[in-house]
């Protein structure tokens, strides 16, 4: 693992991705300092074109697009990351238990996972939020609910290969409990595929979050990129920047995460990097 960082960072795609993500992280953390005004506050003439006063213009109600973009960074990233963490936690639990115990438990858990993979996931997220009513928490629940199956499958596959190795058998002989073996022996050895899948999942979560917000199912009173596009949609003819700019932000962010995820994959699984 000593060679990980130099190899990882020498990949120019990874470097570009990290630069953009770093920038976003700074914006997300300092959002209140960068744009001290409420992004929902009406500050100027409606639909003013980009100008020195409002760098990215104003929207249909006269809200500052730049402020919206800055505060949207925080909301979009926070929701996507929290949803992904929950999905990773749940998926790891299901996959680890299924792979470790095998047999009937494995069968049941995998049928359960397949069920969630088969049903149309975006539609399911829509139905969930519609019934649970839109809120930041329900948005996170819906995204996590539709994102965990790939994690469960990856972890199960890794656990299956790791659990037959000698060091795990040694731990069994040493009398360690199932939970200790899983947490201390098996799971640490499944980390690299888990990190790759998890990082790519954040990108998917951002796309799902912005699509839901675009449809008006996002968290109310939270400025997010998808919401900005949805709100600007009806004014495409008069003010193209309302839709274009947040879309570019989503595109660059998802792209950056995908590049980093692929870089992680190349570095952690070097034999696959030729593909």
């Amino acid at each position: 693992m000593k060679t990980f960082w130099p190899r990882f960072l020498s990949n120019p795609r990874v470097f570009l991705g990290l630069v953009w993500l770093g920038l976003l992280l700074i914006v997300a953390i300092t959002a209140n300092q960068l744009a001290p005004i409420d992004p929902f506050a009406i500050v100027g003439r409606p639909m003013a074109a980009p100008s020195p006063e409002f760098w990215l213009g104003t929207d249909s109600l006269g809200r500052d697009v730049m402020a919206g973009l800055i505060h949207g960074t925080r909301a979009t990233i926070l929701i996507a990351v929290v949803a992904t963490l929950i999905a990773v936690g749940f998926g790891t639990f299901v996959g680890a238990v299924a792979g470790y115990y095998g047999g009937l438990i494995d069968d049941i858990l995998m049928r359960f996972t397949e069920f969630f993979q088969t049903i149309p996931s975006f539609l399911f997220a829509i139905v969930l939020i519609a019934v649970l009513t839109p809120s930041a928490l329900n948005l996170i629940i819906a995204i996590a609910t539709v994102s965990w199956p790939p994690i469960a499958r990856v972890v199960r596959g890794e656990v299956l290969t790791v659990k037959s190795r000698e060091f795990v058998q040694a731990a069994v002989l040493a009398g360690q409990g199932d939970a200790a073996i899983l947490l201390k022996q098996v799971l640490p050895n499944t980390l690299s595929p888990l990190i790759v899948t998890g990082s790519l999942l954040i990108a998917t979560a951002i796309l799902v979050e912005s699509a839901l917000s675009f449809l008006g199912l996002g968290a109310p009173n939270v400025m997010s990129w998808g919401f900005m596009i949805g709100a600007g949609r009806s004014f495409l003819r008069q003010a193209w920047w309302l839709v274009t700019i947040p879309g570019v932000a989503i595109l660059l962010t998802v792209l950056a995460i995908n590049l980093i995820g692929e870089g992680l994959n190349d570095t952690l699984n070097p034999r696959l990097s030729d593909l």
């Binding site: 975006f122 139905v127 009513t133 796309l207 949609r233 495409l236 193209w240 274009t244 879309g247």
Partner: protein, 327 residues
């Protein structure tokens, strides 16, 4: 393989899909329980859209005084005979509404499947043949960028450029309803309306299939049977078209089947943007009318659709890959 065993295979696969359908029914039932108001008012379209007698009748029919599992039994019994209830918002049985909107969505999906699979396979094939040249780089970078682009944003950008600025394509709808086109004219009109939605929905999948096809081609090219074919003196052209290409197709076909559900989800967003009169637009409308029953009906139908498509893909797979002997 005899046709009898294929029939048996299909029957066996059908029985495997039953639990999925059953699962969707149970999930739907649970969601109806979660929705504000009791089952009868939710089914009747909330907000007092339905006459009181109907709600009373619904309560009796769903056994609201009975325990939950009996209610679930009633719900399943109704779904079994395709009684999806009545939408008071739109004043029609849910099933009729769904069947009415099914065809535009299927048209869009089939068009998207043809465009994305066809172009994706060609792009991936070319990138693999040109591997590590600037042409490969152009295709791969374009695929990575498209892969990261939100669908709804692509749709709006295409409308901005091709409908508003250039005025080449209509901004919304499936046909020019006031023009009353008949026969061939109507087909042309619908095709004209179909272009932008299909391109929008296809782009993401095109990128996905192109990337997969490239990776799959490169993987197959390094396998032993290629070395054997080469040692036997087969031309590179024949090795590529006869052996590598055919084997490389398999993961792409699998992925196309897996993506059906995603395609349906994408069509909700897409139909909302292009006012395409399909299931997705109906879902979007029912969302804001709080017509849960209609929404869950769409979810149910979509899940059934996904299961059917997966079945078809599995059957195609058996024909494509003779190694997959059934059984």
């Amino acid at each position: 393989m005899s046709s009898g065993s294929l029939g048996g295979y299909i029957v066996r696969r059908l029985t495997q899909t039953l639990p999925v359908i059953l699962g969707v029914v149970i999930v739907n039932f649970l969601l109806l329980q979660l929705a504000p108001g009791d089952l009868a008012t939710v089914l009747a379209g909330e907000a007092g859209g339905a006459p009181k007698e109907y709600i009373d009748e619904l309560r009796a029919r769903f056994g609201q005084d009975q325990p939950v599992y009996i209610q679930l039994f009633y719900y399943m019994r109704n779904l079994l005979v395709l009684d999806l209830g009545f939408s008071f918002r739109l004043g029609a049985p849910v099933l009729d509404l769904l069947l009415d909107r099914l065809w535009p969505t299927l048209l869009l999906m089939v068009a998207t499947l043809i465009v994305s699979l066809g172009l994706g396979i060609v792009m991936g094939l070319l990138a693999a043949l040109w591997v590590r040249t600037w042409k490969d780089t152009v295709i791969s970078v374009a695929a990575i960028i498209v892969y990261a682009t939100p669908l709804f944003w692509v749709g709006l950008m295409l409308i901005l450029v091709f409908s508003i600025r250039l005025n080449w394509f209509p901004t919304s709808g499936m046909e020019d309803v006031v023009a009353f086109h008949e026969g061939w004219d109507r087909v042309v009109d619908i095709a004209h309306h179909l272009v932008l939605p299909t391109v929008t929905l296809s782009l993401f999948y095109l990128a996905l299939y192109a990337r997969l096809m490239r990776a799959s081609m490169l993987e197959q090219r390094g396998l032993d049977y290629v070395v054997t074919a080469r040692a036997k003196g087969q031309s590179e052209r024949k090795i590529t078209t006869r052996h590598v290409f055919r084997n490389a197709l398999l993961p792409v076909v699998t992925m196309a089947g897996v993506q059906t559900g995603g395609l349906l989800g994408g069509s909700v967003v897409l139909e909302a943007i292009f006012a395409w009169p399909g299931l997705g637009q109906l879902a979007f409308q029912s969302l804001f009318a709080r017509d849960y029953n209609l929404l869950l009906g769409i979810f149910f139908l979509s899940a059934v659709l996904v299961v059917i498509v997966n079945l078809i893909v599995d059957v195609i797979y058996v024909f494509l890959d003779p190694r997959i002997r059934i059984g």
